[in-house]
């Protein structure tokens, strides 16, 4: 092809499969790697292998963790009667950064999307329901998309019979945006002003 080495081509291909990395950036990353010492490449490959070996899902909240249950689920300082439901592990990081939430989390790993055939079986809904026995309040903090709204209200309908208090975060996060790209103050305000469903 255009490159003088098949290894370079493979590296570029793998980098450009990352989200938001185009061909040009992939090429820059590859040439950067080539300029580093061997030790850098060894360290990097070990980091990647460790990442895949050591990190798995917490069997309670489905966040990423190295030990199961995860530090949040096993912490004695957290309020176990409040659950915050989020879409992705990223969102836990965003909410933790605000230092404003002391309950536990539940990561759904997606939202329902009838148009794309994603149903409740494809996300961690049953797992959420099985956690409800000693929970008093469930706060939904899904992204403010149509699908986030649909999923929030659908699950709210499902869990209503359990008699828990159900709310969602206020729509301080702009529609079409996501928790990942919102600043701490916005998320904190949204958590503060939660709305009962």
């Amino acid at each position: 092809m255009n490159y003088t080495s098949e290894s370079i081509e493979k590296a570029i291909e793998i980098f450009s499969s990352f989200p938001s990395i185009g061909k040009k950036t992939a090429q820059r990353l590859t040439y950067f790697l080539l300029r580093q010492d061997d030790s850098f490449a060894e360290k990097m490959s070990k980091v990647i292998i460790d990442l895949k070996h050591n990190v798995r899902f917490c069997s309670i909240c489905f966040n990423y963790t190295e030990r199961d249950p995860c530090p949040i689920c096993s912490s004695t300082k957290r309020d176990r009667s409040i659950l915050c439901v989020v879409e992705e592990p990223n969102d836990v990081v965003s909410i933790e950064k605000t230092n404003d939430f002391y309950g536990l989390y539940h990561v759904l790993h997606g939202v329902m999307n009838p148009l794309e055939g994603i149903s409740q079986d494809d996300i961690k809904v049953v797992e959420l329901i099985s956690r409800l026995h000693d929970v008093e309040e469930v706060i939904f903090a899904l992204n403010p998309s149509v699908e986030g709204e649909l999923t929030t209200h659908y699950i709210a309908k499902l869990i209503k019979p359990f008699g828990v208090k159900i709310s969602r975060i206020a729509s301080g996060v702009p529609m079409g945006s996501s928790l990942e790209f919102s600043d701490d103050a916005t998320i904190a305000r949204a958590l503060e002003g939660r709305i009962a469903i």
């Binding site: 148009l115 149509v146 309908k157």
Partner: protein
């Protein structure tokens, strides 16, 4: 709003053009295919991030290039500067930055720089199908109300989800009833917002429409608009509350439920609305003569201008694409005279500037922009 400069890069046959505009009338002239309409498209992109021609963004990129870029420098009526740029790279999300913020979504910029467009294609508004008329109200209302933009976008999304759920039942006889119920609740809620806004819009729009029809035709013909919302019964003389609208939609959804399951699709809602346009006693689409159709369309557009100017409190920019080729000399002159009373910035594309300029005694207000094969020639 007045644009003073447009920078166009790799849009259709424009490679790299910096175009200075007059704050009043701009005549864009050149042979067929020289790139006149493309300049109007660049203004539409700056106004609501989409062309007024039904085409994909990737078709707008100049052949063999990878991106297009449009940068518009304008002033609000209050003389405050406004700048916006649209940058589209093949395969990525459109980058929109303006003096109002970076990384904007299309819905953030709609209404900021209001425009009124008239092209021969818009004949469909008075001739064509209900969808053409819905599209007309949607473009006007979207520029006038951010609330409407939000409601209509969500209404359309929920319609698709709802149809997917119903469609799956029709095919596989499987249904998650709670999911359908949730989707229906939201579909009805946003549909009610849309219908409520459309009612309100038609009422406010009618006086503008009647007045501009009278101005254009100097005639005593009576024109009228009537909103015909699907599944809603209403008394023409009393205001409809939003709660009433949603109650009626709930009723319709119950009545149609079995039918919807069988057909696998949504059978009610504002995606089926229409607006009747009347001239004297008859429906325009059946009764109006050729000339009356033209007058109706032009007056709808002038009314759109006056309506937007009133609600957005900003003078819209008027874009006229190739319309004088469709009008006789007398009507063209009339339209042009009316146009000049509006004190709006106007961009007009023509293939024969001479004929056009002869109608005008005072030519000093006009700026002529000549194009040849995508390049400005002076």
């Amino acid at each position: 709003m007045k644009i003073h400069k447009i920078h166009i890069v790799n849009l259709r046959n424009h490679a790299d053009n910096l175009i200075e505009l007059s704050p009043s009338t701009n005549i864009i002239h050149g042979s067929n295919g020289s790139g006149k309409t493309t300049i109007l498209e660049s203004v539409a992109l700056a106004s609501h991030s989409k062309s007024f021609q039904p085409t994909d963004d990737k078709n707008l990129i100049r052949w063999a290039e990878n991106r297009y870029f449009v940068n518009v420098f304008a002033d609000y009526d209050m003389d405050i500067a406004y700048e916006i740029s649209i940058n589209y790279n093949r395969g990525s999300r459109k980058q929109i930055n303006s003096s109002k913020g970076e990384n904007l979504y299309p819905k953030d910029i709609i209404g900021e720089m209001p425009i009124v467009i008239l092209t021969p294609d818009y004949k469909a508004i008075t001739f064509g199908s209900p969808q053409d008329r819905r599209q007309f109200i949607d473009t006007v209302l979207s520029q006038a109300s951010k609330y409407y933009v939000d409601a209509i976008l969500k209404q359309k999304k929920y319609l698709k989800h709802r149809n997917a759920i119903l469609g799956q039942f029709a095919r596989e006889h499987r249904i998650d009833e709670k999911l359908l119920a949730t989707a229906t609740d939201f579909f009805i809620s946003y549909s009610s917002d849309v219908i409520y806004k459309r009612f309100q819009f038609i009422n406010e729009f009618i006086p503008f429409f009647k007045q501009s029809y009278a101005e254009i035709t100097d005639s005593a013909e009576l024109v009228e608009l009537k909103y015909k919302p699907d599944s809603i019964e209403f008394n023409q003389f009393s205001k409809m509350e939003k709660s009433e609208i949603s109650e009626q939609l709930v009723k319709a959804s119950k009545n149609l439920y079995q039918n919807e399951l069988r057909r696998g699709t949504t059978l009610f809602g504002p995606q089926k609305d229409d607006i009747d346009i009347f001239i004297n006693q008859g429906l325009a689409k059946d009764a109006a003569s050729q000339g009356q159709h033209k007058s109706l369309l032009i007056s709808l557009k002038f009314a759109e201008f006056e309506f937007l100017k009133t609600v957005v409190r900003e003078t819209p920019i008027i874009l006229l694409d190739d319309i004088f080729s469709e009008l006789d000399a007398a009507r063209s002159q009339k339209v042009l005279e009316l146009l000049l009373t509006k004190n709006a910035q106007t961009l007009i594309t023509v293939t024969e500037p001479d004929k056009f300029l002869n109608w005008q005694k005072d030519k000093s207000n006009f700026k002529i922009i000549s194009l040849s094969e995508g390049r400005i020639v002076t």
